[in-house]
């Protein structure tokens, strides 16, 4: 008689400050595939994990924003390379989470990697598009340039677990912000694998922090957090009541808010610049000419 092999029932962890800690709360939750079968356990992030992630993101901000745009482009491109290396694992995660066929899941991964490469290219070009040399009536250069906002809370889309995630995170970090990301609640595993890609690329610890768990419980703490400078409400798309209360909480420290759409957008479409420009601020400098 041959013994059947015992399955390894994995319990994934969070990604905070470049490390993979368990949730401070000690809780995890069961993740099912699209057909309802057990896949793995994911850490259920608590408000204290969100707090720790904000501290990590704040600590990483100076160094990340201070890198040259060219260097940030290289690092984003590096993430794309690592995702390419982990192709089978990511395809599997997307198939299980979203119930797609193999070829459809491959296509989603292609689009995700292309999206990263696309945003990587914008790192040293956004300034040229949204910045300006303003004509002024005096012997001065007057230059407006986009600057990163700071620590950005990102509620990742609930349905599009990889392409949506990448489309939400890449535009935030490419301009020099750091991010605290709350993954899709029911489809967290692509985010976990994405975190593993980040950890093995050149992204400094704390630039992207990924919390798996329920956005509806964590988001109020991020929205009210006085040390978070902006929040993207993509992950509560369609939940008008919650989105409104988050906007009210965010107003306390004048957070920039990227408002929740009525429904999750089609992430395969051209994203435009809006996701980047939502999280930059314009700095204008006067400089005397001819001194």
């Amino acid at each position: 008689m041959t013994m059947s092999r015992v399955d390894v029932r994995k319990t994934y962890k969070l990604f905070i400050g470049g490390a993979f800690p368990r949730s401070e709360s000690g809780y995890s939750y069961v993740v099912h595939d699209s057909k309802g079968a057990f896949v793995a356990n994911a850490a259920l992030a608590s408000r204290k994990d969100a707090r720790d992630a904000v501290v990590a993101a704040r600590k990483a901000f100076g160094g990340w924003a201070g890198k040259t745009a060219y260097n940030r482009a290289q690092i984003l491109y590096r993430i794309a390379e690592i995702m390419e290396d982990r192709r089978p694992q990511l395809v599997q995660a997307v198939r299980q989470s979203e119930g797609l066929s193999g070829s459809r899941a491959e296509k989603v991964l292609d689009e995700s990697i292309d999206r990263l490469v696309w945003y990587a290219g914008w790192a040293d070009k956004l300034t040229q598009v949204v910045g300006n040399a303003n004509p002024v009536a005096g012997p001065y250069f007057n230059l407006s340039t986009p600057e990163p906002t700071g620590v950005v809370g990102v509620l990742a889309p609930q349905e599009s677990s990889l392409l949506g995630l990448v489309s939400a995170v890449a535009p935030v970090i490419v301009t020099g912000n750091t991010a605290v990301v709350v993954s899709s609640y029911r489809r967290p595993l692509p985010a976990v694998t994405f975190a593993e890609c980040l950890a093995t690329s050149d992204v400094p610890g704390g630039v992207v922090n990924i919390l798996t768990g329920d956005a509806t419980t964590i988001a109020p703490w991020l929205a009210g957090h006085m040390d978070v400078n902006a929040i993207d409400l993509l992950g509560v798309a369609g939940d008008t009541e919650l989105a409104t209360s988050l906007e009210v909480a965010a107003a306390d420290n004048l957070k920039r808010v990227r408002r929740a759409p009525a429904a999750e957008p089609d992430f395969a479409a051209d994203p435009g610049l809006e996701a980047m420009t939502a999280f930059v601020e314009t700095k204008t400098v006067w400089h005397p000419i001819g001194v």
């Binding site: 707090r51 904000v54 704040r58 703490w221 009210g224 957090h225 006085m226 040390d227 978070v228 909480a249 306390d252 420290n253």
Partner: protein, 329 residues
């Protein structure tokens, strides 16, 4: 039942140990006769006490108590009068946005900054502590150390933080260390007959063993120190939970023996509100609730205060605060 601390004086205690402190040999005999510290046990006990969960009203009480126990410290070569004035103002009103926030216990500065700090603090009740005796190394002749101390006291210091001569201590010249502490304590006397409180810094990071920490504690208490303090903050490791626990055991045992209460001040490396609360748990469990008072327990810290204020704000407003809302210092 230990005698009430008010009935025993430092002189009584000193008299009780006059036999011990008569000669180097008798002092060494006494200090080496103290029970050894079980290092593994001490680490484990301190770690276990650090796991206590302090929540809601107890946490609010602990945060306010910790703020009242802070010796807000700036001990840098680049200190300016302006910085000391700003720090002193902060010590009196740590959170300008909240009138219910208590003041800190003291500001701790170099002797040349005492007058500046005193000018701002006035009669606010916030003390001025000065580090003296060739802080932080303690490597100077005794008369220079004493002059340093007298200068600080004359400038208005309420408390003097002295460093022991670790070189002498480690080479076993205990009587020299003892006599130096006694001499500095005498130099703390003011013209009007009162005297500044004396805190004795061991620099536990340089004492190598927990046994030495226990010996240094007894040595300083017998010499009449009002406080025993872990570190200067200039040497790593600075204050740790197990070291502070051993010092708390020493002050507890000293009170049982002499009736005299001595304070404890961990300094350096205590940065988060959570750490501070762990220390308070330790104080309560090891020395007892009598020490849960700014007169008997202090934190030497600079960044800790902002962390305590942020936690306090979190408790009153219900949302996490950020460093943008408190002064940089």
């Amino acid at each position: 039942m230990p005698p009430s601390p008010t009935t025993a004086t430092a002189e009584d205690a000193a008299a009780q140990f006059s036999d011990v402190t008569r000669s180097d040999a008798s002092l060494r005999g006494f200090l080496h006769g103290l029970p050894g510290v079980d290092q593994v046990g001490a680490d484990a006990r301190a770690a276990a006490l650090g796991t206590r969960s302090i929540k809601t009203t107890a946490k609010a009480y602990a945060l306010d108590l910790a703020i009242r126990m802070v010796d807000l410290t700036t001990l840098e070569g680049q200190d300016t009068h302006g910085k000391v004035r700003a720090l002193a103002a902060k010590a009196m009103r740590p959170d300008p946005a909240d009138a219910t926030c208590p003041a800190t216990a003291a500001v701790c500065v170099y002797p040349d900054m005492v007058a500046t700090a005193k000018e701002v603090l006035g009669e606010s009740g916030v003390h001025v502590a000065a580090v003296a005796t060739a802080f932080p190394s303690g490597r100077a002749a005794l008369d220079i150390k004493l002059a340093d101390t007298r200068d600080a006291v004359e400038a208005g210091a309420d408390e003097i933080d002295m460093v022991i001569d670790r070189g002498a201590f480690l080479s076993g010249r205990y009587l020299q260390v003892f006599e130096e502490i006694v001499a500095v304590r005498e130099a703390c006397a003011r013209a009007d007959g009162s005297s500044a409180h004396l805190k004795v810094i061991f620099e536990t990071g340089e004492l190598q063993t927990y046994d030495n920490v226990r010996r240094a504690s007894w040595l300083a208490m017998m010499a009449g120190g009002h406080f025993i303090k872990t570190s200067t903050g200039k040497v790593q490791p600075a204050a740790t939970l197990p070291v502070t626990m051993i010092m708390l055991q020493a002050v507890r045992d000293f009170r049982e023996t002499t009736g005299q209460m001595v304070g404890v001040k961990p300094a350096g490396g205590i940065r988060t509100a959570k750490d501070a609360i762990k220390y308070l748990v330790l104080v309560n469990e090891v020395a007892g609730p009598d020490w849960l008072d700014p007169d008997w327990f202090r934190f030497g810290a600079s960044t800790l205060l902002n962390e305590l204020l942020m936690q306090r704000t979190k408790m009153t407003t219900g949302r996490y605060s950020g460093p943008d809302y408190f002064t940089l210092d």
